[in-house]
């Protein structure tokens, strides 16, 4: 079943078109990754799905229902959770409270369930368990990123939008994060992943889309993208990194 269907998406910041008619579909239960260079429009696509871009046109439907033009909070309630780039953590709250806040869209769920889910998140990210009573501002950059991912997962979304979850994380932690992404899907959540670390992203994804300055360059299975010479040269580090 098509969970997310985007067609002819155009987004504009100021005078410039950032997206120029993008078509993307995500099936229920898939991990789909968006790749491309800086400024290609990957983050803008996620922000448009979440209702955070004011000037958009085209179509976005989620589970068969058009969502373009809905307010961000309405979109979250439909089951789309967005973990934005750049760690927007509440500095004056503890790690645990930051994570608990991620569940605030879940109406009628008991405090105990939320606390149990938060414990599960703290178990996922072992470093956070140790830091659960630390205030947000005391964390290092990588720790903040982990809190942001954990907070996004607390919403128990049907579709999780992850914007560069590996940004600024140590290699050991990056490996953890991608294991968790695979676990999230195993538990039934669909994932749309924007990532610069194409190695990692393509190792967990079912399909990938490569964007170039606002439109689709190519799409396909990870193996096809790997072997596409154009994609390799432009986005995967070319032959130099593979040797």
């Amino acid at each position: 079943m098509k969970l997310l269907e985007i067609s002819g998406l155009v987004a504009r910041y100021g005078a410039a078109d950032v997206l120029k008619g993008l078509d993307i579909t995500v099936e229920e239960g898939e991990i789909v990754t968006l790749l491309g260079s800086n400024g290609a429009g990957k983050s803008t696509t996620l922000r448009a799905i979440s209702g955070l871009v004011p000037n958009v046109s085209g179509n976005i439907s989620f589970a068969g229902k058009p969502i373009l033009g809905l307010k961000p909070e309405a979109i979250v309630r439909l089951g789309i959770s967005h973990v934005p780039e750049g760690r927007r953590i509440f500095p004056g709250l503890t790690v645990r409270d930051n994570i608990l806040l991620g569940g605030s869209n879940r109406k009628g769920v008991s405090r105990r369930t939320l606390e149990a889910d938060a414990d599960e998140m703290l178990g996922f990210f072992t470093d956070l368990g140790r830091l659960q009573h630390a205030l947000g501002w005391t964390l290092s950059g990588g720790q903040l990123q982990m809190v942001a991912v954990a907070r996004g997962l607390m919403a128990r979304p049907r579709l999780l939008l992850l914007d560069e979850p590996s940004l600024g994380l140590a290699p050991l932690i990056v490996q953890q994060v991608f294991r968790i992404v695979a676990d999230i899907r195993a538990r039934g959540t669909t994932v749309l992943l924007v990532e610069q670390n194409a190695h990692m992203a393509l190792s967990v994804a079912d399909r990938g889309y490569v964007l170039e300055t606002g439109h689709l360059l190519v799409q396909g299975a990870p193996a096809d993208l790997w072997s596409n010479p154009q994609v390799r040269a432009a986005y995967l580090g070319g032959l130099a990194a593979a040797s």
Partner: protein
């Protein structure tokens, strides 16, 4: 709307035109009466509001005491010319000088305070001045005020008539607006805007942030004083209630309404707020309510003020890129590679309460080398850079840079010694263009081109060429993607021709091809003899560029040496890498 200050005659023809127009207009105006008073009030207020453009619009420091400086200037003229019989201009100069000194003193408050705390200090200053003017009756005449203030006579010229005095005020207003407009594109103006947009990055780019803020308060007070002095001559009578807290709020509203980032905004805002009540008078009882509503509506729908709205539309026009300017070679100051230590850190410790972020770290960086600092998240790498660049004071230890002990220097002095940096969570000056951002870096004191505006532009363009961003020179930096903002940060650091460059996670947010390009860029920099200390989690990049690697964990050094040794060290694999190197690529 040039970002470049290289042309010394920029705006001068417009100024000459404005002065001519002022002289023509003042003869068209009535010689006395209500209308003349309104125009004189708008004109003198506008000069004071231009002061707020400097302190609030350029430098980002809120001041709710502009009416106090306006009052000091007014009382300088009033008391000086009436009680002491001084010439008008001598009395004005004394009033302005007092305003300047008190402005500097008020600015000293910005050392420890910012935001609303600083605003409260300025309000207190305003209240104290009102008390002094009201209660020091023997000197200020108290609530009775000062009467019969003369208008100036100098060199046989008399400004006694309404025409002549209005002409004087208009000319001074035009000169003020011109000067403050030129200030924005000057080195000092860019320093102020850098402080406004990102104080930490400004300090790290060699700007004395505290001195800049104090100076902004001083300049603002001078303009308040000049406006006030002319105001005293306009009405020939002043009293304390004309310079109270409500007037400070009115001046602030004028600045915000017109657009606080430009002196033209100040003129428009002042004129509008002075004239609007006149236009609305036909509404009789409800006119104050309509006036208030109009101000609120403008604020809500044009948050950047009237001029900000106009300016944004002007900015959208594409601007030419200076292809004609020959780039100045970068890195002219760097030396040949050698074994000499350029940065030596011994026993460095930084404790936050009970947390030992750094716990006795030694590190030695050789001239011309690329040294990588790696370690798990939270191991103290960014803290290390922040202590080395002076953002944090170390708990213990010693930092030597190019033979000089810099342990206790403030950030801007370390930058001036040749230590440049980029930030992990990008710190660019968001209100400025790409080129202006990089010019701030080029203008650091101690750079070989400081004081040559044309060379500063050339060096900034050369740095943009180096990171291949010249095409974006006139874009506002906030509209760029994350990765491109990183390149702007690197260009800003490079433009200052640093001796050593500290890069905090430069590859974060770049895709793999861009990382390879960054690697080439770093090698080119190394080829020029630049010393680099880099923090990054991308081991491909680190392996590609680093000569030495130091590994931190829990604030301590756990390994140090060549990439071959360090990346195979079992402790490093266990704490940081997770899997041995070269397995990951097998996926491909």
């Amino acid at each position: 709307m040039g970002a470049l200050s290289a042309n010394p005659w920029r705006g001068v023809p417009a100024l000459a035109g404005a002065i001519l127009l002022a002289i023509v207009l003042c003869f068209a105006a009535p010689d006395q009466g209500y209308f003349l008073n309104i125009i004189l009030q708008a004109c003198t207020y506008a000069i004071a509001v231009t002061g707020l453009v400097v302190v609030l619009g350029y430098c980002g420091q809120i001041s709710i005491a502009q009416a106090a400086f306006f009052g000091i200037g007014a009382y300088g003229v009033g008391i000086g010319s009436v009680d002491f019989g001084l010439n008008f201009f001598a009395a004005l100069a004394i009033g302005v000088a007092i305003a300047f000194v008190l402005g500097l003193i008020l600015g000293l408050g910005s050392l420890r305070l910012g935001g609303h705390y600083l605003a409260m200090v300025t309000i207190s200053f305003q209240q104290i001045l009102t008390q002094v003017l009201t209660n020091w009756i023997s000197f200020t005449h108290g609530p009775d005020g000062v009467r019969n203030i003369p208008r100036p006579h100098i060199f046989g010229l008399s400004f006694e008539s309404g025409h002549a005095y209005l002409g004087l005020c208009l000319v001074i207003m035009a000169l003020t607006a011109f000067t403050i407009w030129r200030l924005k594109a000057s080195r000092l103006g860019r320093a102020m805007q850098a402080v406004r947009d990102n104080e930490l990055a400004a300090g790290a780019s060699g700007i004395d942030t505290f001195g800049t803020k104090v100076l902004a308060f001083g300049i603002s007070a001078v303009l308040g004083g000049i406006g006030g002095g002319l105001f005293a001559g306009s009405f020939r009578y002043i009293s304390p209630d004309q310079f109270g807290f409500p007037e400070s709020i009115v001046l602030l509203t004028m600045a915000l309404l017109g657009g606080v980032e430009s002196p033209f905004g100040a003129l428009i805002g002042t004129l509008l707020l002075v004239l609007l009540p006149e236009w609305l008078r036909f509404l009789r009882q409800v006119y104050l309510a309509v006036y208030g509503a109009a101000v609120i509506l403008i604020m809500v729908f044009l948050p950047d003020g009237l001029w900000g709205f106009v300016d944004e539309r002007v900015r959208r026009r594409a601007r030419p890129i200076e292809h004609a300017v020959p780039p100045l070679p970068l890195l002219s100051q760097t030396a040949a590679p050698s074994n000499e230590l350029v940065l030596a850190v011994e026993g460095l410790a930084k404790h936050f309460g009970g947390l030992r972020a750094l716990d006795g770290v030694d590190l030695a960086v050789r001239r011309g080398s690329v040294h990588a600092l790696i370690g798990p998240n939270g191991s103290g790498k960014s803290t290390f850079i922040n202590v080395v660049t002076g953002l944090y004071r170390p708990t213990a230890g010693r930092i030597t840079f190019a033979g000089q002990d810099i342990t206790h220097l403030p950030p801007h002095k370390r930058n001036r010694a040749g230590l440049a940096r980029t930030f992990q969570n990008i710190r660019v000056f968001r209100g400025m263009t790409v080129l202006e951002n990089v010019m701030v870096g080029a203008e650091r004191r101690g750079n070989d081109i400081t004081g040559h505006p044309a060379a500063v532009v050339q060096r900034a363009l050369a740095a943009l060429d180096f990171v291949e961003m010249r095409e974006d020179a006139h874009r506002l930096v906030g509209t760029l993607s994350y990765g491109h903002q990183r390149y702007v940060e690197i260009a800003r650091a490079l433009a200052g021709s640093p001796e050593t460059l500290l890069l905090d996670e430069p590859a974060a947010g770049l895709n793999m091809t861009e990382k390879v390009e960054l690697g080439h860029l770093l090698r080119r920099l190394k080829g020029h003899g630049l010393t680099i200390l880099i923090i990054d989690h991308d081991m491909n990049l680190v392996e590609q560029v680093a000569d030495y690697i130091t590994v931190l964990n829990f604030g301590r050094r756990i390994a140090d040496g060549t990439p071959q040794d360090v990346l195979r060290n079992p402790d490093v694999i266990a704490a940081y890498l997770g899997e041995p190197r070269h397995q990951e690529e097998a996926v491909a």
